[in-house]
C-alpha cells in the first residue's frame, strides 16, 4: 500500500468492500443454483404450459336421413368468434364486456357468462364468444385484431334442420352442454362449450351422432397469438343415422294436423311388422334452428321464452309425453282383456247394451240402444253399454291385468328421451281406495270405456293397436334403422355400423279366432260403422274411433277426437293412429287426418303411372 494510511485501516476497508461485493455475487450464484438446478424442471414445465395451447377442431355431427335417404338434419358451415384464455389473464375483462357487447351485438350479460365460463376450463384455450357470426362481426374482429388480440374467427359446422318445425320433436336440437350435464356420468369427458344433442334423436343417440373433436397444438406468444403449429389431430365425424321415418308419410301427417280444426294433435304411423316408426307428427311445434342459432341473440332468447310460456305447449311431444283419455279406442284392448280374463269366449260374447247402465243412483248412458250385441257389432258400432257390462264382469282386477298385458304401466321403450307413462286404474287404485275406502263400480264402468282413471300416451295406444292386428306380436316402436360405420384413423378407433337392437316382440295371447273377431269388428267399423270416413277402396283399413272427454265436461272444452287404425285388416303392414285435441267426434275429425296419411303411404307403395307429358319431359 503506497498511501501509508494504516492508521485508517485503508487496506482493510478496501478488502471489506471487495468481500461485500463478492458476497453479493455469491448470493446471486446460490439463487441461480436454486432457480436453474433445483427448480429448473418446474420452470421448464411452466414455460411450456404457458406457450403451448390446444385449439379444438370441432367434429362434424352425423347427419340424419329418412328411410329413403332424404336429409332430415345436416350441418352447414358457420363462423364463430372465439376468445383465447391466456391473454385474458393480463387484461381487465370488465372493461372488455361493453366493448365486445357493442362490437359483436351481444347482450352484456351473455358476454359476462362467456367470460366466466372460460375461467372454469383448464385444458383448452378458447371458448366461443359468439356463434353464427355475421359478416359484420367477422369484419369487426379482423379490424380490431391489434386492440383485441384475444379474439379470433373460426369455422364451425352448425346443425341445420331443413324442415324447420316439422319433426322437431323427433329430431330434437343441439346446444351447448349445461353445467349440470357436465357433472353427469353420461357426458363425462366433455368440456364447457361442447355441443350435444338436446331432446329427440339428437339426445338419445348423441354419443353416436357426436363426432370426436380434433385439436391443433400450437405455440402462442404472451398475448395468445399463434406463432406456429406443432401438431394437428383432425376430428372424426359423427356417424350418420338412417332413421325409419318416411318423409312423405311424415309430411302428410304434419299437414293433416295443420289442416285440422284445432291444429293441435298428433299422428303416428308405424310398420306393424317390426315397430319401425314411419311418422310421428306432433303440433304445435317449434323450430329447432331457433335453439341452435338463437340462444345467444335477443330475438332468439325471446322466441325460446315464448315457446316455454306458450299455453299450447309447442315444446312437448304429444305422441310420447301427452297423456289423453283414450275414450272408445280403449275398447280394443278391453276386448282382448275380455277374452284373456275368460268372461267372454269366441262362442259366447254377447252383452246387453241396455242404452246404458244404472250404478247406484246414477244412470250412465250409451250413445244409442244396441240391444244385446256380440263383440263384432259392439266394436263396429262402439256400444258403451256392452263394455260397461264387460268391464264389470272382468272386474277392476281383470282390467288391471289387461293394462299389464299391454304394458300401459311402463314405457314402450321407443328410442326417444323423456317418454311418459300413462295413468291407469293400476296406478289410481291405491289412491282411490285410500280416499274412498273402496274401488267403486262406477269407476270400473268409466275405466271400461277409457275415461276417468285412464289416460295413456298415444305411442302406447299405437303399440296396442298394431299388436292386435299382428295377432298379438307387440313390437318396441323405434326410429333407428341404421348407424353407418366410420373408418378408424391414426388417432381414433373405427366406429362400426349397427342397426336397432330389436328385442323379441312381446306376445299377447289370443286365439286366431279371437283376433279375427276383433279385426272384423274394426274392419266393419270402416265399412259400415263409426269409422266409415277412413274407407279406402282396395285397402282394407281396420279402425276404431274414440271421442274422449277432456277433463270435467262442465269446463266446456270440446272432446278430443281419436282414431286408431291398422291396415290391411287381415294382413297388417302399417298402423296409424291420430288424435286431434278439442275438436269433437273422433270419426269426423281424426278420421280424415289418418286417411290422408294412408293416401300418402299408398301413393308411395303403388306409384301412379306418370302423366304422359311428364314422361316426355324425362
Amino acid at each position: 500500500m503506497k498511501l501509508h494510511e494504516q492508521s485508517q485501516n485503508l487496506g482493510l476497508r478496501i478488502v471489506t468492500i471487495q468481500v461485500v461485493a463478492f458476497l453479493l455475487l455469491a448470493v446471486l450464484g446460490v439463487r441461480l443454483y436454486y432457480l436453474q438446478i433445483v427448480r429448473g424442471e418446474h420452470f421448464q414445465e411452466r414455460a411450456e404450459n404457458q406457450r403451448i395451447r390446444l385449439i379444438p377442431i370441432p367434429a362434424p355431427r352425423g347427419a340424419i336421413f329418412d328411410r329413403n335417404g332424404n336429409i332430415l338434419v345436416d350441418s352447414r358451415p358457420t363462423f364463430n368468434v372465439v376468445i383465447s384464455k391466456e391473454p385474458l389473464k393480463t387484461i381487465d375483462t370488465d372493461e372488455r364486456i361493453p366493448q365486445y357487447s357493442r362490437g359483436l351485438s351481444l347482450e352484456p350479460q351473455v358476454v359476462t357468462e362467456r367470460l366466466n365460463a372460460i375461467n372454469k376450463q383448464t385444458d383448452f384455450e378458447t371458448l366461443i364468444l359468439k356463434d353464427n357470426a355475421s359478416m359484420q362481426d367477422i369484419a369487426w374482429v379482423e379490424a380490431h385484431s391489434l386492440e383485441y388480440p384475444e379474439l379470433r374467427v373460426e369455422l364451425q359446422p352448425q346443425r341445420f334442420y331443413p324442415h324447420g318445425k316439422y319433426m322437431a320433436h323427433i329430431l330434437g336440437y343441439v346446444g351447448e352442454i349445461s353445467p349440470k350435464q357436465l357433472e353427469s356420468e353420461r357426458w363425462a369427458g366433455l368440456r364447457p362449450g361442447d355441443i350435444i344433442g338436446k331432446g329427440g334423436l339428437e339426445e338419445y343417440y348423441d354419443e353416436f351422432l357426436r363426432g370426436r373433436p380434433g385439436y391443433r397444438k400450437v405455440i402462442v406468444d404472451s398475448r395468445g397469438r399463434i406463432q406456429s403449429e406443432i401438431e394437428v389431430v383432425p376430428p372424426q365425424a359423427g356417424q350418420d343415422m338412417v332413421s325409419t321415418i318416411d318423409l312423405d308419410v311424415q309430411m302428410a301427417a304434419e299437414r293433416q294436423i295443420e289442416n285440422s280444426a284445432s291444429k293441435r294433435g298428433t299422428i303416428l304411423a308405424m310398420d306393424s311388422r317390426n315397430g319401425e316408426m314411419l311418422a310421428m307428427a306432433s303440433q304445435p311445434s317449434f323450430d329447432p334452428n331457433i335453439f341452435v342459432q338463437g340462444s345467444k341473440t335477443r330475438e332468439g332468447r325471446k322466441q325460446i321464452a315464448e315457446y316455454w310460456q306458450d299455453e299450447e305447449r309447442p315444446l312437448y311431444n304429444r305422441a310420447i309425453q301427452g297423456r289423453y283419455p283414450p275414450g272408445s279406442t280403449w275398447k280394443i284392448p278391453m276386448s282382448v282383456g275380455g277374452f284373456q280374463s275368460g268372461v267372454m269366449t269366441e262362442s259366447s260374447n254377447a252383452f246387453a247394451c241396455g242404452g246404458g247402465i244404472q250404478i247406484g243412483s246414477k244412470f250412465t248412458k250409451c250413445m244409442g240402444n244396441h240391444g244385446t250385441p256380440t263383440l263384432i257389432p259392439a266394436i263396429s258400432r262402439s256400444c258403451n253399454g256392452y263394455y260397461y257390462r264387460l268391464g264389470l264382469k272382468m272386474e277392476i282386477e281383470g282390467i288391471i291385468d289387461m293394462i299389464e298385458t299391454f304394458e300401459y304401466d311402463q314405457r314402450t321403450g321407443i328410442d326417444l328421451p323423456n317418454e311418459k307413462i300413462g295413468q291407469t286404474p293400476k296406478s289410481w287404485r291405491p289412491i282411490v281406495e285410500k280416499r274412498e275406502g273402496r274401488w267403486p263400480d262406477i269407476r270400473t264402468v268409466y275405466a271400461s270405456i277409457g275415461q276417468d282413471t285412464v289416460v295413456v300416451t298415444p305411442i302406447s295406444l299405437l303399440r296396442t293397436i298394431s299388436a292386435v292386428g299382428m295377432f298379438g306380436r307387440m313390437y318396441v316402436p323405434h326410429f333407428l334403422k341404421e348407424f353407418r360405420p366410420i373408418v378408424g384413423t391414426e388417432h381414433f378407433d373405427e366406429r362400426p355400423g349397427f342397426g336397432f337392437q330389436r328385442p323379441e316382440p312381446k306376445i299377447i295371447e289370443m286365439t286366431p279366432g279371437q283376433q279375427k273377431m276383433i279385426a272384423q269388428g274394426m274392419a266393419d267399423a270402416v265399412t259400415g260403422g263409426t269409422a266409415r270416413v277412413v274407407n279406402i277402396p282396395g285397402f282394407d283399413v281396420a279402425a276404431k274411433t274414440g271421442t274422449a272427454q277432456d277433463g270435467d265436461p262442465k269446463a266446456g272444452r270440446k272432446d278430443h277426437a281419436w282414431i286408431v287404425t291398422y291396415a290391411p285388416a287381415f294382413n297388417p303392414e302399417i298402423a296409424v293412429i291420430g288424435l286431434i285435441e278439442n275438436v269433437g267426434f273422433g270419426g269426423t275429425h281424426a278420421g280424415p287426418a289418418v286417411k290422408g296419411v294412408y293416401e300418402a303411404y299408398l301413393a308411395k307403395k303403388n306409384p301412379q303411372p306418370a302423366e304422359p307429358t311428364e314422361v316426355a319431359k324425362r
Partner: protein, 372 residues
C-alpha cells in the same frame, strides 16, 4: 505524448481489464441477439460498443489527474445536462423524462453519464483531505455533491437510476476513515428507518401503488397481482429457471423473449435471456467474469498513485458491483423490479459508453501508478 505511449503505456496498459470488459460486452451483444433476433438492436449495440471502446482509449491515455483537477467543470456540465432533461429538450418515455435529445449528438440518457463527474467531484474533494477521521462537515459536503444529480434525477423521476448513485458516495465515505461506530449506527438506523419509512410512505401515499406492488411482488410474486408487477417477476424467474444447467440448446424460436413472455429482454432483463440461453454454466461464468473484473479494479485501487485515484476506482467498482447486484437480483426475483441496466450487458449506448469511460479512468490511473 508519443514518448509516454511508447515508454510505459503499452507496458503498463491493463490488457486483462480491457479484454475482460470487451468480452463481457461482446457476450452481451450475443444475448441481445438472443433476446430479439429479428430486430437490429444487437447490431446497434456493436456500433455502440465501438464508440465506447474509442472513448475508453481516449480516457485511458489521458492523465486522470488533469481530469480530476477539472472535476468541478465536468460536474457542473453534468448537472446542466440533467437539468436540460427536465426542459422541453427532454424526451418522455413511459412517463419518465430520462432522455435528452440534442442536435448532432442525438438522444442519450444523462443520468448514466453524470455518474462520472459525480465520482470525480467526490474524489477531488475527499482526495485532498488529510488522513484523519472524517468530520461531520465533510460528510455534509459529500452528501451535497451527491444531492445535486440525485435530486435532478428524482425529478425525472427515475428512482432506479437515483439509487445507483448512493454506493458511489458510500464507498468514498467508507474509505475516507468514517468511524466504524458511525457505520454501525447508520446500519442500525437503516434497519429501523427503512421499514418504518416504507410503512409511513405507504400510509401517506408517498410511495405509489405501483412501487409498493413491485416491492411486495418479491415476497410473494404469485399473490400480488400476477398480471402486473408480479407477472414480470414470475416471467423472469420462469425464464431463468427454464435455462437449467446448460440452457436451451437450439430451441430459440420458442424462447421466453421471442414469445414476448419476458418483458424488456434486451435491457433490464438481459440476464434472464442469458440464463435461458446459456443456463447455469453460462450465468456462473458471467458472474465469475464480473468478479474478476471487480478484483482487477480493486487491485488497481490498491496500487493507485494518489488518494483521489484510489477513490475514483473504488467508487466506480462499488457502483458497478451494486448495479450488477440490483439488476441480477431483480431478475432472480430477490429484489424489486427497478429499471437498472446490467453493466456491459444491457442494450443501450448511454450505459455502455458511461461504463467504458469509467473503466477508462481505472486503466488510466493504473497506467500511471509508477509516475510521480
Amino acid at each position: 505524448m508519443v514518448a509516454i505511449l511508447e515508454k510505459h503505456s503499452l507496458r503498463d496498459f491493463d490488457w486483462l481489464t480491457t479484454v475482460l470488459a470487451v468480452a463481457i460486452a461482446c457476450f452481451g451483444v450475443w444475448q441481445i441477439y438472443n433476446a430479439v433476433p429479428t430486430a437490429s438492436i444487437w447490431s446497434k449495440q456493436i456500433i455502440g460498443l465501438s464508440i465506447a471502446i474509442f472513448a475508453f482509449l481516449v480516457v485511458a491515455f489521458t492523465d486522470y489527474r488533469r481530469i480530476i483537477e477539472a472535476a468541478p467543470i465536468f460536474y457542473g456540465f453534468g448537472l446542466l445536462l440533467l437539468f436540460l432533461v427536465l426542459t422541453p429538450l427532454g424526451v418522455e418515455v413511459n412517463g419518465q423524462k430520462a432522455w435528452l435529445w440534442l442536435p448532432v449528438v442525438g438522444q442519450f440518457q444523462p443520468s448514466e453519464f453524470a455518474k462520472i463527474p459525480t465520482v470525480l467531484m467526490l474524489a477531488k474533494y475527499f482526495g485532498d483531505r488529510k488522513p484523519v477521521p472524517l468530520r461531520f462537515k465533510e460528510l455534509l459536503i459529500g452528501g451535497a455533491i451527491l444531492a445535486g444529480p440525485v435530486g435532478l434525477i428524482m425529478l425525472e423521476p427515475d428512482a432506479g437510476q437515483a439509487i445507483t448513485y448512493f454506493p458511489l458516495l458510500i464507498a468514498i465515505l467508507f474509505l475516507s476513515a468514517v468511524k466504524v461506530r458511525y457505520i454501525v449506527a447508520t446500519l442500525l438506523a437503516a434497519a429501523i428507518l427503512i421499514p418504518t419509512s416504507y410503512y409511513i410512505g405507504v400510509q401517506s401515499g408517498v410511495i405509489k401503488q405501483y412501487q409498493r406492488q413491485r416491492i411486495e411482488a418479491i415476497i410473494n410474486p404469485e399473490a400480488v397481482d400476477p398480471r402486473g408487477f408480479g407477472y414480470h417477476t414470475i416471467q423472469s424467474m420462469i425464464t431463468v429457471g427454464k435455462g437449467g444447467l446448460a440452457g436451451i440448446q437450439g430451441d430459440t424460436e420458442t424462447s421466453q423473449s421471442v414469445l414476448k413472455f419476458l418483458p424488456e429482454p434486451q435491457t433490464d432483463f438481459i440476464f434472464a435471456v442469458t440464463a435461458e440461453h446459456t443456463g447455469f454454466i453460462g450465468c456462473v461464468s458471467l458472474l465469475l467474469a464480473y468478479a474478476l473484473l471487480l478484483s482487477r479494479l480493486i487491485a488497481g485501487a490498491r496500487e493507485a498513485n494518489d488518494r483521489a485515484g484510489m477513490l475514483v476506482i473504488m467508487s466506480i467498482a462499488a457502483g458497478l458491483a451494486f448495479q450488477i447486484f440490483m439488476n441480477i437480483g431483480m431478475t432472480l426475483g430477490i429484489l424489486p423490479v427497478i429499471g437498472v441496466p446490467l453493466p456491459l450487458m444491457s442494450a443501450g449506448l448511454s450505459a455502455m459508453l458511461a461504463t467504458f469511460i469509467a473503466i477508462g479512468f481505472v486503466v488510466s490511473i493504473k497506467m500511471r501508478r509508477f509516475v510521480n
